[in-house]
Symmetry: C2
Subunit: 315 residues, 2 copies
Amino acid sequence: MTGYGVTPLPGLPARVTICEVGPRDGLQNEAALLPVEVKAEFVERLVDAGHSVVETTSFVHPKWVPQLADAEQLLQRLTLADGVRYPVLVPNERGLDRALALGVRDIAVFASATETFARRNLNRTVDESLAMFAPVVERGRREDLRVRAYLSMCFGDPWEGEVPVAQVVGVAQRLMAMGCTELSLGDTIGVATPGRVTALLDTLTAAGIATADLAVHFHDTYGQALANTLAALQRGVTTVDASAGGLGGCPYAKSATGNLATEDLLWQLAGLGIETGVDLGRLVETSVWMAERLGRPSPSRTVTALAGTIKGENQ
Amino acid sequence: MTGYGVTPLPGLPARVTICEVGPRDGLQNEAALLPVEVKAEFVERLVDAGHSVVETTSFVHPKWVPQLADAEQLLQRLTLADGVRYPVLVPNERGLDRALALGVRDIAVFASATETFARRNLNRTVDESLAMFAPVVERGRREDLRVRAYLSMCFGDPWEGEVPVAQVVGVAQRLMAMGCTELSLGDTIGVATPGRVTALLDTLTAAGIATADLAVHFHDTYGQALANTLAALQRGVTTVDASAGGLGGCPYAKSATGNLATEDLLWQLAGLGIETGVDLGRLVETSVWMAERLGRPSPSRTVTALAGTIKGENQ
């Protein structure tokens, strides 16, 4: 796949599911407001590249996320492929109504491990936000939807500093007890290092949360995302969130770098012989295309290294 | 150190020596020709930040590396600190004469694991280049110098693709048999992934080369350097090469990103509780200062994230 061979590392999973968050988590944090047809093409290109999970949009109120105000139009425009999941972010029951009306089968809620971020991002305490999500999760499960829970600030918080593992595990357990089917552990400001990742995963599994229900969501703000991913794979995690071309990030982090780029992740997984089903070349092509739409180059190291090759192929 | 706590990962070394290669490997691959007083200040700032090994310059002919044509002037200008090593690159006996005349106590030779890169970089076959280094290493050892051997293209080569492990081990054994005291394994084009790192280290130690004599030298071209570093630490490697601010890179790689940034490495090591003696804040300050001299921002994620903070502290 990369032309430099495959050497497995003993003890890692044979297959990883990438949860591609570019169209939602990525575009939500970009300044540009893209036309709905560009977003639809983006989602379709990601599926064509082999992605089986593409987080598509958000039903958060457009006042808060104007970038995704066209959620309905986008979903109506898409031809959904068989065997592909298109989760959408749903903050409350009103959002769930809108999602269900459009035939959505995968939803996600967005919780915080810290009080400060809950207040800043959700304008609620942690307890209040969980109370808001509870009926969404319950009804979602009754409708047989998959319900992913994002848990942000699992490692560090810009206002609170280091976030205690026990605090993260406490919120995680409440989300799983509520009925969430997957928990995505977010390093929202990218400060985690591998020892902390391992310690959190070990504590969560000791608390009864199955590794199969866990995903990791690393940001590359300090360049740590892939080393942290390796630590998570070594603990058996098989779902990794990433954003095509490294789109987006956290608007509260000081740096311009954000989400782990899917291409950088793919380079690692391909070299390790871990199956993902995603084609690196087609994904780089998509990120080069998206960078042109956004008017700025991708921050992904792999996209930067391969973009010349891809352009050459298209000429 | 980073404000987000320390969580060790069992099995990693307690202390790592960073071989800071910014002034040589970094500046050699930058387009700018800096005045000798800026280079001297750079080396002194790196030592002040706590570095114990700073690769200072090169005695390669100025025709090939005009950036480091002032090697003599730089060494004469520096006040060498006690307990700090200042290795210099020495390609041949003529270079060794110049280095010894200036009181150099640490030298490095630069070999290639592949024939194509040996020819392109050294204008010699692998055999011819080893024959050129042999008298340098022998006389260096007689003079009781430390002699580091760089071995480039240990993982992939842009012309040859994947480089067989056995080929790398063969050249490595010849360098160690020659009397080199340290072997730095270079991923010159940044294509390695962690399984390959582990396999190479295991094969080298099985072939009788002590882990204590090995260093790793990763490039971040595809964003893999820190994950590869983690794999190397897990195999007991305690010397890691890095370049302040991510200066430099390989001129033959297609991408602008090159050496692993020392700051990104330090963020990882600090979070893991691994001692290095190097102060992250002072190093970021130095890289921000150097970026101003070079007229372009540092490619380091950590420098980018922290630069605002540092500037604020200086105002």
